[in-house]
């Protein structure tokens, strides 16, 4: 029930907006996100934008991902080396 989909604001009129996602347009409300403008990427739930997508945050998440993978690959390699016969 907490499903939300990402969409882009293409029209704005006070608390009302139109968003587009994969060529589907939908009228929503933007009361919950404060300042916003056309072109903003938002997450939509039950007819309301519940937050803007933060590009920097997205990049940070990707960095964590990359770091995590590097650590795991290193550990994986170490494990394989430890297991290989001397």
């Amino acid at each position: 029930m907490c499903l939300a989909f990402p969409a882009t604001i293409i029209k704005l009129d006070g608390p009302n907006a139109t968003v587009e996602f994969h060529n589907v347009k939908r009228d929503i409300r933007v009361d919950l996100i404060g300042d916003c403008q056309i072109g903003d990427h938002v997450l939509v739930h039950a007819g309301f934008a519940i937050n803007k997508l933060d590009e920097e945050g997205a990049r940070e998440t990707m960095e964590t991902w990359t770091e995590l993978i590097e650590i795991m690959e290193k550990e994986d390699k170490k494990l394989k080396n430890d297991q290989s016969p001397e």
Partner: protein, 354 residues
């Protein structure tokens, strides 16, 4: 993310060798379904057990709530407006779907604003909106109600059945019936609550947790990171959904909730009354509170004794362990709420059963 990269990362999860068997819980019903339909659950390494949490609002709504809604409709001839998820849920004696098939007008809406629009257009009917849902949904209901109050829409009211997720997770751990090593926290709930609202997990219960999105890469990364936190003894919350989740949450949305609602105790199906886990409308808005506006004589609440939805919601058993699962109880003919909701654990197990 490139497809070959995703395959590579999937391999990492699949081949991960755990130091000891681990139980992790995904709190959110949307995660429950996502783990199944992306296939990420199928590549869990040996010894990693995913326990479904109480994160499906429809599933945790006790019969008494729907019984009241139905009784209000019967005694006061109101029009109930509801999210589609609630329509098939069996109450003690009937369901909204059965009522609808008997000719009772029930409006299924996508947004609470749609329910308000009906009330504004049809002044001669009373619209009662079934306000269920967790923190993700509550602000949308709060804004709608605020509009109704501002515009003096007197034929609109809400029946509050809203619930707060952190107190429920706290209660599960305090009950101590099931051993959980760490949590995958709900991404969209956390947009509103913020990651700080979950700090009781590491601080009070010493449980590491991650906040995760819903894409396959998010699920894989969230799972791997959680396992890493548990194995390294790092008792903290790692927010892996920073593009939308902040520490303090959506202050604007939380403000709307605080303006209209007071925190109260709430009855969760299968768990019972959890202190501070529900919301009620502030007294000054009682004209918009369907429970006060339309007093009813409540019928006795009856639960189907053979349905084990409650134990499933507490993480004690998996759906296939219930004798009704897949035989008497199917998505077409659901006995319990966990089979009704698309996000219910039983429904997900049934849909993706091998």
């Amino acid at each position: 993310m490139e497809k070959d990269q995703l395959i590579k990362y999937s391999e990492l999860l699949k081949n991960y060798s755990l130091k000891r068997p681990l139980n992790i819980m995904e709190v959110c019903g949307t995660h429950t379904v996502a783990f199944f339909h992306t296939g990420v659950k199928d590549i869990f390494p040996e010894g990693l057990n995913l326990i479904d949490g109480p994160g499906c609002p429809v599933c945790v709504t006790a019969n008494g709530y729907l019984d009241r809604a139905i009784q209000i409709q019967k005694e006061h001839e109101v029009v109930l407006a509801t999210f589609g998820d609630m329509i098939k849920v069996p109450a003690s004696y009937t369901s909204l779907q059965k009522l609808k098939s008997e000719g009772v007008r029930i409006e299924i809406v996508y947004s609470p604003m749609d329910a308000l629009e009906i009330a504004k257009k049809e002044k001669d009917i009373e619209i009662v909106f079934l306000s269920v849902g967790f923190e993700t949904t509550i602000p949308t209901e709060a804004v709608t109600l605020k509009k109704a109050i501002e515009e003096n829409v007197n034929n609109f009211s809400i029946l509050t059945g809203n619930k707060l997720t952190p107190p429920a997770v706290d209660a599960l751990l305090t009950l101590g019936e099931v051993k959980i090593d760490g949590f995958i926290l709900p991404g969209h709930v956390s947009i509103i609550t913020g990651s700080d609202n979950w700090q009781f997990l590491p601080k009070k219960h010493s449980k590491p947790s991650v906040i995760s999105g819903f894409e396959p890469k998010d699920l894989i990364m969230g799972t791997l990171r959680l396992v890493q936190l548990i194995e390294n003894g790092e008792i903290e919350i790692d927010n892996l959904y920073k593009e939308v989740v902040t520490e303090e949450g959506n202050r604007l949305a939380l403000g709307f909730i605080e303006e209209l609602f007071d925190v109260t105790d709430a009855n969760w199906r299968g768990i019972g009354v959890i202190p501070g886990s529900g919301l009620k409308l502030k007294d000054k808005f009682s004209l918009y509170d369907a429970e006060k506006k339309f007093p009813v004589t409540m019928p006795e609440e009856v639960e189907n004794k053979s349905c084990r939805c409650g134990e499933i919601l507490r993480g004690l058993i998996t759906p296939p362990e219930c004798p009704l699962f897949g035989t008497v109880c199917t998505p077409r003919e659901p006995v319990g709420a966990c089979m009704v909701s698309f996000e219910g654990s039983c429904s997900a197990y049934y849909k993706y059963r091998k």
